[in-house]
């Protein structure tokens, strides 16, 4: 490729992405700056008067600072469940990919089932109640882990296949046991895909509102998606506050992505597996 072509392509890509991806965001931001009447028009327009700060204050203070509580809860939920999910799924994927056995078909089927079958709400609550975990954060964390594991297993398995077995064998000859082999040799090599899984699942858990609604009910347990209901009901919606809220709860995943995005890029320049 010549430099000029490349430059043309870049310009085109930047322009196109701006229209396709940034305009909807601009709409969210603009609406978040409007007054209630102005926002209710739902037009893509410059605000008649800016009241962004007021909207921010309103959103944060709504329902007795529910948003702050929700941020704390969601952060705990996301960090804990994604960490557990990623590690356990990587272990499963590793053995599943490396070890040929009769059970592999069944395990693959179970993994896919986890993606296909929608969770059964009421029986899950019964199970949680029996375990004494209903309405508790650990209970919800385990639920998120159970529902999110399949995705990670599928993702990791694909990438473990690209790691040459010679590496395992070298490590085994050096006397590494299964745990050390996995955590010291394989897991670091999965970095770029682990980052992908972490980002995607964090977003999923962060943006999940169905599970918290059922398994961790109560206002003191609110998670961020539930705060959206403060400004949007069946009959009446305060769009300026709603979009301010959307904006606020999108910031943490955004920051996380920007941080991890570097990681993916770093993975590129370092070059991947030295076979």
């Amino acid at each position: 490729m010549t430099g000029r072509k490349n430059y043309l392509l870049s310009t085109l890509a930047v322009l196109l992405s701006g229209v396709v991806f940034l305009v909807p965001f601009a709409f969210i931001v603009l609406t978040a700056m409007k007054t209630r009447q102005d926002a209710a028009e739902l037009r893509f327009s410059w605000p008649h008067q800016f009241q962004f700060v007021q909207n921010l204050v309103d959103v944060v203070q709504a329902r007795d600072y529910m948003l702050i509580i929700a941020f704390i809860n969601s952060t705990i939920l996301t960090v804990a469940s994604v960490t557990i999910m990623v590690v356990l799924a990587a272990m499963v994927a590793f053995v599943l990919q490396r070890r040929q056995s009769r059970w592999n078909g069944l395990i693959t089927f179970l993994v896919l089932s986890g993606l296909i079958i929608p969770p059964a709400v009421v029986p899950t609550i019964w199970v949680l109640q029996r375990l004494g975990l209903f309405r508790t954060m650990p209970g919800l964390i385990l639920v998120e882990v159970a529902f999110g594991m399949s995705f990670c297993v599928l993702l990791f398995r694909a990438f473990i296949a690209t790691i040459p077995r010679e590496l395992d064998e070298a490590a085994i000859i050096d006397g590494a046991g299964p745990l050390r082999l996995f955590f010291r040799v394989i897991f670091p090599l999965l970095r770029s895909v682990v980052v992908t899984a972490v980002v995607v699942q964090s977003v999923t858990v962060w943006n999940d509102f169905v599970n918290p609604l059922y398994f961790l009910p109560g206002d003191q347990n609110a998670t961020v998606q539930l705060t959206l209901y403060n400004f949007s009901s069946q009959y009446n919606t305060q769009f300026n506050l709603l979009f301010t809220n959307i904006l606020l709860i999108t910031i943490p995943p955004l920051l996380m992505f920007l941080v991890f995005n570097r990681q993916i890029v770093a993975g590129m320049t370092a070059g991947a597996v030295k076979g």
């Binding site: 509580i69 955590f183 609604l213 109560g218 069946q234 009959y235």
Partner: protein, 437 residues
């Protein structure tokens, strides 16, 4: 490198998770000796939340030992499921708000709720309301707010400018529409962006159906009559099709939402809007002048002499069986307060009521919007109002709103719509295990 210290991170995350049981209590929910805290679950619409919050405040002021903590849930059917799930798992708040009528029957009241027939205020409640929160022979709830009318809200200014009279029959209604359209105003507002609003032509017409056939509701429950084969009942679907076919709807009927509809009505861009009166409070809050500019008349039917208003019973406030001890005593006190003139005044102060109260001794404040005032003559005249079908029969299909959207946008014809609805209710009746289905 982050992943080097992974086991450590794991450990940290786990301990964090285990200590998170107490997360989210920013030090405000501790039990102090002798204090009772009641939790109260309501849906998040202004018309429920505002009066409940006001009542909670005023009640706590009168009873210093009791605090009421209001929790919210989404409205609509999503809320139905939360209510059912929490009741079935014994995890309901101390007090909760939920619909009366057929939806109330679906939460197995005898199994899940505390009976209230022995309470002193039981005799103070309107009999019609009592019938909608009674199961077996026990009363289970007290009303929040007043009745809600399902009728046509109309812009009085537009009517005055064009010299129109309030119609008492469908023919007069359509004649008015022709004149309104000629004047460049949308005669009938429809807002399918909120699908539930499309049901008014059918549901709000029920007084006219039962005036033509007083036995309709009973026979309907027994599977002896059908919408599609009863001319008076099919009329609602036909009316909806007629206004669409005649081009009498607002241009953006397919995407507009309730708020847009109320705005068009208040600003006179649309003349008439079939709607439930609980929406009046929100409209008046946004457009103060609509308090006097917008009036109400019942959905017109075939016979002017029998025309009347279809009303919805207020939602009930109930106590689940999982509430016990001091909380139960406090909850009963709270319900007694809500079903008293003080409680009514407290609710009315927070949000414009949707219609007359159903507790003896409660009166509407003098400054209620015109549309609410217009309900009074219908309610005061015997035979001029009747409860909506869902309060007289437990059979209500879940897909009516999709069907009325299709009929009202010309996707499906009225007779086919009515027949599809008859098919739709079958599942509900079977679910309830009713005789004859």
């Amino acid at each position: 490198m982050r992943f080097r210290s992974l086991p450590l991170a794991l450990l940290a995350a786990t301990t964090l998770a285990l200590s998170a049981c107490s997360a989210g209590s920013l030090g405000s929910s501790d039990d102090e000796g002798g204090k009772v805290e009641l939790s109260f679950l309501v849906d998040n619409s202004d018309s429920s939340l505002k009066p409940v919050e006001q009542v909670a405040k005023d009640f706590s002021a009168k009873n210093p030992g009791i605090t009421v903590k209001v929790e919210t849930r989404p409205g609509g059917t999503e809320g139905d499921n939360i209510i059912k799930t929490r009741l079935s798992t014994g995890d309901m708040t101390d007090v909760f708000l939920y619909n009366s009528g057929s939806l109330f029957q679906a939460i197995a009241p005898q199994q899940n709720l505390v009976p209230l027939s022995d309470q002193p205020y039981a005799g103070q409640l309107d009999d019609n309301f009592k019938s909608t929160v009674t199961a077996g022979d026990q009363l289970y709830g007290v009303p929040l707010g007043g009745v809600t009318g399902g009728a046509v809200l109309y812009n009085k200014k537009v009517f005055a400018d064009l010299g129109l009279k309030v119609p008492a029959t469908w023919a007069e209604f359509m004649a008015n529409n022709a004149k309104i359209k000629a004047a460049g105003v949308a005669p009938v507002i429809q807002t399918f962006g909120d699908t539930w609003t499309s049901q008014l032509f059918v549901l709000g017409d029920f007084h006219n159906v039962s005036a033509a056939d007083p036995q309709f509701a009973a026979n309907y429950t027994a599977n002896k009559v059908k919408f599609a084969s009863t001319p008076a009942a099919v009329a609602g679907f036909q009316h909806q099709q007629e206004v669409h076919d005649a081009g009498y709807l607002n241009k953006d009927f397919a995407s507009a939402k309730l708020d847009d509809g109320l705005k068009q009505l208040a600003q006179g861009k649309g003349a008439q809007y079939p709607m439930l009166t609980f929406a009046v409070g929100g409209m008046v809050a946004n457009f103060p002048e609509s308090a006097k500019d917008v009036g109400l008349f019942a959905l017109p039917g075939a016979d002017a002499a029998k025309n009347g208003l279809t009303v919805w019973s207020p939602a009930g406030i109930y106590i689940p069986k999982s509430t016990e001890g001091a909380e139960l005593e406090a909850a009963k006190k709270l319900l007694a307060y809500i079903a008293s003139p003080d409680g009514c005044a407290s609710q009315a102060a927070a949000y414009a009521p949707s219609g007359p109260f159903l507790v003896k001794g409660c009166t509407l404040p003098a400054d209620v919007p015109q549309a609410i005032k217009d309900m009074q003559p219908y309610i005061d005249t015997p035979g001029k109002s009747s409860l909506a079908l869902e309060f007289l029969s437990p059979v209500k299909g879940p897909s009516l709103e999709q069907i009325t959207v299709e009929v009202g946008s010309g996707i499906r014809r009225a007779p086919a719509g009515a027949a599809l609805y008859d098919e739709d209710v079958k599942k509900q009746a079977q679910q309830l295990g009713l005789e004859g289905w």
